[in-house]
């Protein structure tokens, strides 16, 4: 276990260095000039020079890269170029709205998907199975933007069932996040159900199921005690891999429903080329991605005694 973790940590260092290089390069080349954005079209040259030094933009590319690595090492990305807020405050403020949307949405969506997958696996080959599979393909064939636009317009604007836009801290957030959660569930259930169905069908074809059947165990019991337990491995590992995306949030839902979470933070920072925020966000995403991949591997080994971490 310890050597495994150590090796994964060591292996992640070149990945982080590479990510930092790519992101800095992309935004150094592609991003707008932050000084022009900040000072307007015809700024005083002295102001420009001062600001450039203050932002660390006077250095050559390599110098900026070294600065970035220093920021990563100290986990201190400074303050936003535009709102002048410390990056830590921005993330601390954004995390609660994001999680209050993504966590319940994910749990609800995954729960429904697993239940439906087991149901159709139980009635595999029947009309129900075929209809559900077709329905799932149909559901994932609709653009996420269409889901959001139509449901927001119909349920919030026309029928006034939910508030259209906004967010309130504390319990008041409930009314605002119900509709985005509903849309998330609709968006994810099709994909998840199809995946879990494949997993369940693969298990159902195994020898232990045949053995259980031949000794007379009821089909329902086979499904819920034997098959579900073995399906747990791919289900749990898949969930672990999704966690980083729950934290970084769904930017489309957040923009459309005015939820001030991390998705909105990312969107705004890219729009205004706010490099400190972009840097911090990239590193958050990357580190979470790496960490939860390791977590998935550990869970895999913990749930399946046949697998050893090597």
């Amino acid at each position: 276990m310890i050597p495994f973790l150590l090796r994964r940590v060591l292996y992640s260092i070149p990945v982080i260095l590479g990510v930092a290089l790519i992101v800095l390069f992309l935004f150094d080349v592609a991003g707008g000039d932050p000084i022009q954005i900040k000072l307007g079209k015809n700024p005083d040259p002295i102001d420009v020079a001062e600001l450039r030094v203050e932002m660390g933009q006077d250095k050559p590319f390599f110098g900026k890269y070294v600065d970035f690595l220093g920021q990563i090492a100290t986990v201190d990305f400074g303050t936003s170029w535009f709102t002048e807020t410390p990056i830590r405050t921005i993330f601390a403020r954004g995390i609660v709205p994001t999680l209050s949307l993504t966590m319940p949405a994910f749990l609800l969506g995954a729960g429904i998907a697993v239940a439906l997958a087991l149901l159709v696996a139980f009635y595999r080959g029947s009309m129900l199975d075929k209809a559900m599979t077709l329905l799932a393909i149909a559901a994932i064939s609709i653009s996420s933007l269409v889901y959001i636009l139509v449901l927001q317009w119909l349920l919030a604007d026309r029928w006034k069932l939910f508030p259209i836009w906004g967010y309130e801290r504390g319990l008041g957030s409930l009314t605002f996040i119900v509709l985005p959660i509903l849309i998330w569930v609709l968006l994810s259930v099709g994909t998840d159900m199809r995946y879990f169905r494949t997993v369940a069908l693969e298990e159902i074809g195994r020898d232990y199921v045949r053995t259980a059947r031949s000794k007379g165990v009821a089909e329902g019991k086979i499904l819920f005690t034997h098959v579900l337990r073995n399906c747990a491995i791919p289900i749990v590992t898949r969930c672990a891999i999704i966690v980083p995306f729950l934290i970084t949030g769904s930017f489309l839902l957040e923009i459309f429903f005015g939820i001030p979470g991390l998705g909105t933070v990312l969107y705004e920072s890219i729009k205004s080329s706010d490099l400190p925020v972009i840097k911090a966000f990239t590193m958050l995403g990357t580190v979470l991605y790496i960490v939860f991949n390791v977590v998935a591997d550990i869970l895999y080994a913990a749930l399946d005694p046949r697998i050893r971490l090597s």
Partner: protein, 334 residues
């Protein structure tokens, strides 16, 4: 003994592809959706030919046709006045799906959008599949340094938040030096910068999945006897890789192509909505983006038309892709 040779000689030769097609045909829905995909393809080709002819002649594009030609007496470009028209049979043919906020024919726009979807879907997946396939083959077959480099490359790329990567690339291909270089090419006249932009973004971000799959499969295939046989015959790496190993992993490429096709079309919608996609010509993404303001004014038909087309095309590709996966899976032989 003689009996065996006779049967072998007279037996019908079934290639794996033929076998796959036989299995594919069994699914009625799969055939139906293949036909639907064919219809979309023909629409796209027609729209593309019309566009090329117009560009060649220097005419205004058809989708910008004036309203008088559609039987409407309205002035275009007035979003907040009552110049928009709901779908009506009276306005046959061009106004049959109504007019958008800008007073333009929704029918012509969804028609042209089909072309945009196919250009983006086909070339975007093509680029992504080419990169993923080549790198995956090299990594799996050559091993050692090539393998380590490719694995490092894709694990790094996969750890960057995808939205960030996509938007950063989109900005580069839109405004950077690449955009200037592209504008001077002869092809820029026929494939707009916005389309080129999306194709590059899709190609450069979505190759990772296929690369992983191909690499894993090649790692298995390269240990097989026929590869050793080819080696002992003195064939070069390149020849073995592309002529002997590739056909054995090609089913992965085909299935992935259909997946990326869908992703590309859906990404066009998101990128266009975010303002870094198609802008010089109508696309489904553009129609859906406009809908945000149109819906508030009760103009629902452009969204309905674009959403329905997008849905039907995606559905058919998704279903065909699924059926292909089942048909090409040798384990499911029956």
């Amino acid at each position: 003994m003689t009996v065996v040779t006779e049967t072998l000689a007279t037996a019908e030769v079934r290639s794996p592809w033929r076998e796959a097609w036989r299995r594919y045909r069994k699914d009625r829905f799969a055939k139906l959706f293949l036909v639907m995909f064919g219809v979309f393809f023909l629409l796209a080709v027609t729209a593309q030919i019309i566009e090329f002819v117009e560009i060649g002649q220097g005419n205004d594009p058809t989708y910008d046709r004036s309203l008088a030609q559609m039987g409407y007496e309205v002035s275009p470009g007035k979003m907040f006045e009552e110049t928009h028209h709901a779908p009506t049979l009276k306005a046959f043919p061009l106004g049959i799906l109504g007019l958008n906020w800008n007073g333009k024919s929704v029918l012509l726009h969804v028609f042209h959008g089909t072309k945009v979807a196919f250009v983006v879907g086909f070339w975007g997946s093509m680029l992504s599949v080419l990169i993923g396939m080549t790198l995956g083959l090299m990594a799996g077959f050559l091993g050692k340094f090539a393998d380590e480099t490719v694995v490092y490359l894709y694990s790094t790329l996969a750890s960057i938040p995808y939205l960030l990567l996509m938007l950063a690339l989109a900005f580069i291909f839109r405004e950077g030096k690449v955009a200037e270089w592209y504008r001077d090419l002869w092809i820029a006249k026929y494939v707009s910068l916005g389309l080129f932009n999306i194709i590059m973004v899709i190609g450069l971000t979505y190759w990772v999945t296929l690369c992983r799959l191909v690499r894993a499969e090649v790692l298995k295939v390269r240990e097989l006897d026929y590869v050793n046989a080819a080696r002992s015959l003195g064939f070069g790496n390149f020849r073995i890789m592309f002529k002997h190993v590739l056909p054995n992993v090609f089913h992965l490429v085909i299935i992935n192509f259909s997946l990326t096709f869908v992703i590309a079309i859906k990404s066009e919608v998101i990128l266009t909505f975010l303002g870094v996609g198609v802008d010089k010509e109508p696309s489904w993404g553009q129609m859906i983006s406009f809908a945000k303001n149109e819906l508030m004014r009760g103009i629902w038909w452009p969204l309905a038309a674009a959403g329905a087309m997008l849905f039907l095309l995606t559905l058919s590709v998704n279903y065909v892709g699924d059926a292909l996966r089942d048909a090409l899976d040798p384990k499911l032989k029956d």
